[in-house]
Symmetry: C2
Subunit: 414 residues, 2 copies
């Protein structure tokens, strides 16, 4: 079966999350969680679903970029794409004219992720993969000084030992998660308390707190959370790029008393030589240098900012080489649904290690997906449906499509 792609549609889907301050942090005070949502149609009826995550305004720019990439996808067969997936990745990221708009960063890379996520979804519905197949999906351009194709294959082959046991373990216990839902910056203290109480009851032991807007507020909120969760649970803080380098050092030292495990995005995501202790990067070249410079102690991959599974594979393998734990970024719209696949793959097929590893979880918007994530006792339970889990319910898409959906007609002042 060739599965020829005969059509690509992309839609601007937005959820008015800013109304209740969900997702608020030091740099994003009123995000409306949104997605550029891609559907691939094939001649045999099989579909592929993909998306990239955005914050509302500007989603139409990503939609425009996906449309510009569509011409490189429609007319090709899945067979043709995956038989040289590295080449196809490069076709999208290195088009002689569109490359100028990135390269491999910003709007054009988000659009690339949305398209490739849909291709992976389609492929996942069609067949299985082996280590050689996986390595052939990675574009090693610019990272061969740190990881070659042979080394990557070697890592995957070695990790085949114990794979079945790890798979069984995941199916039984799931992958450890932490929650960011309790402590968005815009929530009042009473709401923080209630959410913490509820989360503790549901078995959560690891909590992330948004900081960076006001030091006094941060001290009060972090103390409150630490008090609620006790000394033995884990607390992380996230400044969402709010500080300059020196500012970060002095601010964080005043929050040291609450013993955060990590400080996330203290400064510009481009500042490798700054004091980034953890980072959400936009491509494999940035991750490569952060690893080379020992500038991070945890790697936060993102299923929609990097160039889909292809580029995430490169980062997972480099992180393994440098023995740095991967703790994915998630939340938003669909990021949890997508990233669970990557982190389960990391454990079962690459790192074989759970120490100091956990995957972010945010409890919003899952109800809009055909196969939402399943969380059990603060663990991600492996998805059992074929595909990459980013198919949305058609009724949700219709209601939230911007600007014509019913939800947006109601909030026309947005």
């Amino acid at each position: 079966m060739l599965h020829k792609i005969i059509n690509l549609t992309v839609r601007d889907v937005r959820f008015p999350t800013s109304l209740e301050q969900h997702g608020s942090d030091a740099m994003h005070s009123d995000p409306d969680y949104s997605a550029a949502y891609v559907v691939l149609d094939t001649d045999c009826g099989l579909k592929g679903f993909g998306l990239t995550f955005t914050l509302g305004k500007g989603t139409e720019i990503v939609v425009c970029a996906v449309k510009a990439l569509a011409g490189l996808v429609v007319g090709k067969s899945l067979q043709e794409i995956v038989s040289n997936f590295r080449g196809f990745y490069r076709l999208l990221t290195s088009d002689g004219q569109m490359r100028w708009l990135g390269p491999e960063k910003g709007v054009i890379h988000l659009a690339t992720a949305a398209v490739l996520n849909a291709v992976w979804d389609l492929w996942a519905r069609a067949e299985g993969k082996d280590p050689k197949r996986i390595v052939s999906c990675i574009d090693f351009r610019y990272i061969t000084d740190v990881l070659t194709e042979d080394e990557a294959l070697d890592i995957l082959v070695k990790a085949q030992e114990g794979r079945q046991q790890r798979e069984d373990q995941m199916l039984k216990e799931g992958y450890p998660a932490y929650t960011t839902s309790c402590a968005w910056l815009g929530y009042p203290d009473q709401q923080l308390k209630q959410l913490c109480t509820d989360a503790l009851k549901s078995g959560w032991t690891k909590f992330k707190v948004k900081v960076g807007a006001d030091l006094e507020d941060d001290v009060r909120r972090c103390r409150l959370i630490r008090q609620m969760i006790g000394p033995n649970n884990t607390l992380m803080i996230d400044a969402n790029q709010r500080w300059d380098v020196d500012e970060a050092i002095s601010w964080v030292s005043k929050l040291a008393e609450v013993k955060p495990l990590w400080i996330e995005e203290p400064t510009s995501p481009d500042d490798i030589l700054g004091h980034a202790t953890i980072a959400k990067c936009h491509n494999r070249v940035m991750f490569k240098q952060l690893l080379q410079a020992s500038a991070l102690q945890f790697v936060q991959i993102d299923s929609c900012r990097l160039g889909s599974v292809n580029e995430n594979l490169a980062v997972l393998l480099m992180a393994h080489k440098f023995q740095v734990p991967v703790c994915p970024h998630a939340g938003g719209v669909g990021l949890c649904e997508l990233v669970q696949h990557l982190i389960l793959f990391d454990y079962i097929c690459v790192s074989a290690n759970l120490s100091n590893r956990m995957c972010e979880y945010v409890d919003h918007l899952h109800e809009h997906f055909a196969n939402p994530v399943v969380i059990q006792d603060a663990h991600y339970m492996p998805p059992k449906d074929p595909g990459y889990s980013c198919e949305m319910l058609e009724s949700s898409v219709k209601r939230h499509q911007f600007p014509e959906g019913d939800v947006w007609k109601l909030h026309q002042n947005k």
Copy 2:
């Protein structure tokens, strides 16, 4: 006079340069030099013109992004903008929802540059500036560990000495330039020879050659150019990000015999820790680190990839602090027209130094501008018309507008 901005229009203007291989290099084999072209209208009739440079396909994405930013500009007065220009810069680059699409990189940053270039043009047509005014345009976020506001002011105040002499010198002699027009990758040898002969006759002494597609070709073409220009003229090579780090080292060693002054963009523009000896970066945070890491010997600013004059000022000042010469990137559509202002400012108001400094020049598409650059004996002669020199002829815009202009109707297969 408040100069209230009452309208912003943006158009997709493309020139079919790929037909004759103008602009061809190792990563961009068929660029159609293009621009997202912005015009601001004010209530008093004064206009501001701005643009950002692109390579053809995808220009519509930048146009879409400019439209998304328009709401932050229209309705404001020039007075209001420049009285807190740093705040206005941050309004465009740090919008709580659109920031996610960059930040400060890719499509959204190119769009920011187009809009801000138009604001600077408008401002230049209205009035003058002093050091304090200039410093107030710079967003120091993420660079204060290397350059503070006080240090920046100090540099500008010190450079006031000798300013008048340098201004007179520039008006008389112009700013030294080098040419990239002779050696695009797609030109046959006979054309290289002819273009070199012509350029030498016109007084050119510094030549840039595109390399990186095929080593044997590169050796032949570089030897040919070195032979044409003789041992005392200057030759630079540019690989346009073609190589991995190790590949760059071995390839360049085979071109060492032609004695290139610099090797431009040997690898990924994101790879600070790689062997980048010169770089075109996408924002001030990247330039900051390249300077900190001593990873470049020449700074190539770009008037349309950085966030307009505002961000270029930050980079010029940091380069001065590290005593690294600035040799701007130009060419494309309008880049020469824009960047001449920056490099003249650098000499007259910041560096006061011409040693090892020169500005790129490419001899294409100047005829479409209302005030094209004037080159005399391989020097940029200072522009004397008010503004930022990026107003295009309306007849040119109409003919080249994509896809409805006459030129594109003729090349419908593009």
